[in-house]
Amino acid sequence: MQAIVNSDWQSFSAVKLSNISAGYEPNTLFKNLSLEIPHGLFAGIVGPTACGKTTLLKILMGMHPVTCGEAELHGQAVGKIKPGIIGYVPQLGSIDWNFPVTVEEVIAMGLYTNGRILPWLAKKEREQIHELAERLNVSACLKQHILAISGGQRQRAFLARALISNPKILILDEPTSGVDIKTQHEILHLLSDLNCEGITILLTTHDLNAVASHLPWVICFNKGVVAQGRPNDIFTNEILTKTYGGDIAIVKHEGHLLIANTTPLRFMDPK
């Protein structure tokens, strides 16, 4: 991965959605949605369940049709994007962990965009995998089955698969779900490092505190963009209530934002 400085492609947006409408028949999920994300941004999309975050990602990757409007990624119309432009890390919950693949085989899948069709890995490809695995700290488990490694290693293995084709835009669907807080920090720090090298990163998450502490940009989403900006500016009572519809408390502690749901819980009396 090379640091990107003054490249000509920075003249156009990483993501540009113009008045798109989409949904699941007969319902419309978004209507006239417009969103522009510049190159080099590390942005998190937050919003309640079923607000359309994953559908938005699917539209960007050409996996969900739009009924009207235009969607572009890296200056190319969605659906006609050259392979290798996007690196995609799916929700780990959607992966079949009993599938017989080793970490090395998972990472090697990302090399498909190289255009090589022979089944075995070329020497150069093997070196590429080892180099990236070393960097993402999964080199020790390359020959291990994906079920035999930890949650953090799994996330890094799938990240390696997405990164091996040197993508311009990295899209991650809930990369912090199902991992402990330490692993969550490691993943977000790693993404931050990648962003510093010039990769535009777009992720969805439910963890507002992780977004507040690690991400420079946040998009509050609920069937449309409610607001976007720096977490310090965006995580306000008004915006979060508008996004989630519940009572949310925001506490500032030593320069950090802490966000909590304040809707009273009803407990069963144990007696």
């Binding site: 799916p90 693949v101 990302g110 498909y112 965009t113």
Partner: protein, 275 residues
């Protein structure tokens, strides 16, 4: 050794042995994708559709394989089309499409009762039923399957494991699925005379799941499953000759025995290693 060499003096056995090894290898190879794509029932369904097609073809004075291929491919394409939008699941689509085609064959058989003996081999497999034409067809299908899997290995693996990410990486996942369905149909039809309609599904599944128990690596699973399929074909054919029973049954029973052995030995190995 004599019991191994003795049957080889017969032309029919040599043909059947080569056919069983090729069919077993093809089934083992393609079975890995069948099992991992959750299509285990498809082999069973396609073979039934194919036999329905063969019967229809017979009434139209067509070759056995022509009728079976036409109906088998039609079934594969219709199943692909029906399941495209995910509203109808694969198992349901296989259940209705292939059973309907089999039912058509049965209806014709019950109406015209004069060709029963021609389909006995196709139902249970028969080592006497393999002629040179069958052998050529099996050889061609094996070659097509090997070439397709070889050149589509990466696309097939990626789209089997993670269809969405494969799509993002530029793999035309629908075309890959269609291509796979076509070679699967050819493989099933080519193995009908050796294995039989009622047994085909097991020859696709048994080597693959045995290989899955042995290894956690995809590339190794492909190799092991192909070898196990071929080995089961060979031993099954000998057993068929020795015990004078339908070849499909002996091949399936032997591959199931290998599966049971793997299932038993693997945990013991693990236990020994951990001690």
């Amino acid at each position: 050794m004599d019991f191994l060499l003795e049957p080889l003096q017969y032309d029919f056995f040599r043909r059947a042995l080569i056919a069983a090894c090729l069919v077993g290898a093809t089934g083992g190879l393609i079975g890995v994708y069948v099992v991992l794509r959750g299509m285990s029932y498809v082999g069973h369904g396609l073979s039934h559709a194919a036999i329905g097609g063969a019967v229809v073809g017979f009434t139209l004075n067509m070759n056995f394989y022509a009728g079976a291929c036409a109906m088998g491919l039609a079934a594969a394409l219709i199943i692909n089309k029906i399941t495209k939008n995910n509203k109808i699941k694969l198992d349901a689509a296989i259940g209705i499409v292939t059973t309907a085609m089999f039912a058509l064959g049965v209806a014709i058989v019950s109406k015209l009762r004069n060709f029963k003996q021609n389909f006995e081999a196709a139902l249970f497999g028969n080592i006497l039923g393999i002629n040179n034409d069958d052998l050529i067809i099996i050889g061609i299908v094996t070659l097509i399957t090997l070439i397709t899997i070889f050149f589509c290995y990466r696309a097939l693996l990626f789209s089997t494991f993670d269809q969405e990410a494969a799509h993002v990486s530029g793999i035309k996942t629908e075309s890959v699925q269609l291509l796979f369905s076509i070679i699967l149909t050819f493989s099933v039809i080519a193995s009908l005379n050796v294995i039989g309609v009622t047994m085909v599904a097991a020859t696709l599944i048994a080597p693959a799941i045995t290989a899955r128990i042995i290894t956690d690596s995809f590339s190794k699973m492909i190799i092991y499953s192909t070898l196990l399929g071929s080995f089961s074909g060979m031993i099954g054919m000998y057993l068929s000759y020795i015990f004078n029973v339908a070849s499909g049954t002996t091949i399936v029973l032997f591959s199931t025995l290998l599966f049971c052995l793997a299932l038993t030995i693997k945990p013991i190995q693990k236990l020994v290693r951990n001690q």
